[in-house]
């Protein structure tokens, strides 16, 4: 499986789809977008930080583990860092596989495990303000 993991301070532009083989039957893409209402509080955006070298390593480990459960051909992971305004994506994941079931299972489990174990943090502007 090819894996591409990156972090960017900029607007996420999903890279053009390039199929690694003629055996790809499914491409599943996920964009996580910052919403205005989080726990009932209106937000202007969220601020993200990451422990980048460890996040890379945890993601690589996680993708390898998931690959054994849900064989896929390629995963592209892009997480934005710094300030992300409402309506823009903080996260992009693309999974390519022979079959849609594996791509969907992989994607869903990757997001769940990322949210549990990968050292990335979001904070609302109000939370950041309150700490001062």
């Amino acid at each position: 499986m090819q894996t591409h993991i990156s972090f960017t301070p900029d607007f996420i532009n999903p890279p053009p789809l390039q199929l690694p083989s003629r055996e790809i039957g499914a491409s599943v893409e996920f964009l996580g977008i910052v919403r205005e209402l989080e726990r009932g509080q209106p937000l202007a955006g969220l601020d993200y930080e990451a422990y980048i070298p460890m996040a890379r390593q945890e993601l690589a480990r996680l993708f390898t583990a998931l690959q054994a459960l849900h064989p896929c051909a390629e995963v592209v992971f892009i997480h934005r860092l710094g300030w992300v305004p409402v309506g823009e994506a903080s996260l992009f994941i693309r999974v390519l596989a022979a079959h849609r079931g594996e791509a969907l299972r992989f994607l869903e489990a990757a997001i769940d495990r990322m949210k549990a174990d990968v050292p990335i943090w979001k904070r609302s502007a109000s939370a950041i303000y309150q700490r001062k």
Partner: protein, 76 residues
């Protein structure tokens, strides 16, 4: 030896630094090191990582050179 302590997100707020070089010995545990730089600190839901991998609060740090304090993550 020295270990570089990294504090992220709420741990940065709580401890007031992002990076801090600490003198220590290989048989010290992360919990012992933290108790020296932040007396009264209790991990609670904060995890510790040594050299980019999750580790135990009560195992010696050995040859690790980087100790990171990982409050509950919330990426995505």
């Amino acid at each position: 030896m020295q270990v570089k302590v990294l504090a992220f997100a709420q741990m940065h707020d709580q401890l007031g630094f992002r990076e801090h070089l600490i003198d220590c010995s290989p048989d010290e545990t992360p919990r012992a090191i933290l108790s020296r730089i932040a007396p009264g600190f209790a991990p609670g839901s904060v995890r510790v990582a040594l050299d980019l991998a999750y580790a135990e609060w009560d195992s010696p740090i050995g040859t690790a050179t980087e100790l990171a304090l990982i409050p509950p993550v919330s990426g995505g």
